[in-house]
C-alpha cells in the first residue's frame, strides 16, 4: 500500500511538472507574434479604384474575402493568442499569394479576368470563404441573394473589361 502511494505521488509530480512545462511554453510562444497584415490605406490598384464597385458589393467582399485576400485584415481578438495567430497568419499568406484584392489592378487585364472568373467559380461552388473562417465570422456566411449579387457584379465587370480591351485593340 505504502509503495503504491509513493508511486502515485511520483506520478502526480510528473504530471504537475508536465503541466507546468506546457504553461511555460504557452507563455513563451505568446512573445512570437507574426507581423500584422495591416497596411492602413487603400493603394492605387485596389479593387475599389480599379473597377466601378457599389458600396453594397464592396461591403460583401470586405466581410467575406478581405481578411485573407487583401492588405488589410480585420483581426479577431484571438489572433493575439498563439498558436491561433500563427494559423491565421498562414491562411492570410496562402490567400494573398493566390488573390489580393488590394493589388488586383496591377495585373494585366487578362489576369484580372482570370482572377475574377476564379472568384466567381469559388462563390458559385461555395468552397470560399473557407468553412473554418465562416465558423468564426457570421458576416462571411453569404446568403443565396448575396452570392447572386456578387456573381452579377463580377459578370458585369468582366464584360466591361472585355469591352475596354476590344476598344483598345481596334484603336
Amino acid at each position: 500500500m505504502v509503495r503504491s502511494k509513493k508511486k502515485l505521488s511520483k506520478l502526480m509530480n510528473r504530471v504537475r511538472q508536465l503541466l507546468f512545462a506546457l504553461l511555460v511554453v504557452f507563455i513563451v510562444i505568446q512573445f512570437m507574434q507574426p507581423a500584422r497584415n495591416e497596411s492602413g490605406q487603400a493603394v492605387q490598384p485596389d479593387i475599389s479604384n480599379t473597377y466601378n464597385i457599389p458600396d453594397t458589393i464592396y461591403a460583401l467582399f470586405k466581410n467575406a474575402c478581405f481578411d485573407c485576400h487583401s492588405n488589410n485584415t480585420n483581426y479577431p481578438w484571438y489572433s493575439k493568442i498563439q498558436p491561433m495567430g500563427w494559423f491565421i497568419e498562414r491562411d492570410i499568406e496562402n490567400g494573398k499569394a493566390k488573390l489580393n484584392f488590394s493589388e488586383l489592378g496591377s495585373l494585366s487585364t487578362r489576369r484580372q479576368m482570370s482572377k475574377l472568373q476564379e472568384v466567381e467559380n469559388r462563390i458559385n461552388d461555395g468552397t470560399m470563404p473557407l468553412p473554418s473562417y465562416k465558423l468564426m465570422h457570421h458576416n462571411a456566411r453569404l446568403t443565396k441573394e448575396e452570392r447572386k449579387l456578387l456573381v452579377g457584379w463580377i459578370e458585369e465587370t468582366k464584360d466591361s473589361i472585355m469591352l475596354k480591351r476590344t476598344i483598345k485593340q481596334i484603336q
Binding site: 511538472q17 507546468f20 512545462a21 511555460v24 511554453v25 513563451v28 510562444i29 512570437m32 499568406e93 499569394a97 494585366s108 487578362r110 489576369r111 479576368m113 482570370s114 472568373q117 476564379e118 467559380n121 458559385n124
Partner: protein, 213 residues
Amino acid sequence: MKRFVVLLAVTVICLYTSNEVSLAQHKHHETKSTSKNDSSRAQSDKKGSAIDKTSADSTSAPRVTDAKAAASIKDIVGRYLDLKNALANDKTKEAAIAGTALEGAFKQFDKKDLTASQKKVYEDVEDDAGEHAEHIGANAGNIEHQREHFDMLSKDMYDLVTALGSGQLLYKDYCPMYNNKKGAIWLSEKKEITNPYYGKKMLTCGSVKEEIK
C-alpha cells in the same frame, strides 16, 4: 526538475527554429515574386561556382543548355493537346502531368524569333496561361477544378496560336453548356468533337467554330 528544464529548452529551441524557417521561406518567396532575375542571381550567389557560368552565358554566343531546353510553340500546343485529351478521357492524373509539362514548356519557350507584336501577345498570355497550367498540375484528383482552369487556359491558347501560328491545323471547338450555359471554347487537332469539359458524359457534344491554320 533537470529533465523538465531540458525539455523546456528543447521545445523553445524547436519553436524558434521553426519560426525562423518559415520566415526564411517567406523572404525567399518575396524575392521570387519580385523578379525572376533576382532569384536566379540569388541562387547563383549561393552556389558560387555558378556565377562564372551565368556571366559567361550572357557574353558568349548560344548557350549549350538552350539547344536542349528551348521549347517551341509546337511543344506548347502539343502539351495543351495532351491536356485536352486527358480531360476528354476523364483522366485527372494524366491531365495534371500534362499541365505541369505545359507550364514547363511556357517557361522554356524561346522568344527570340518573335516579331514585336507577337512578343507582346506572348508576354501577355505567358503569365496567365502558366498559372492555369500550374493549377491544373497541382489539382490531380479534382477534375472539375482542372476543367475550370482549362476553360481560361483555352482562351489564352486561342489568342496565342492566332498570333504566333502553331505549325499545324487546329480546330476551335465550342461547348455551349459549360460555365452555366455561357459556353466555353477549346482547341483540337482533329475535326471530330471530343469534349474536354464533360468527358464521357457528353463526349461528342459541341461544334467546330473555326479552322486555324
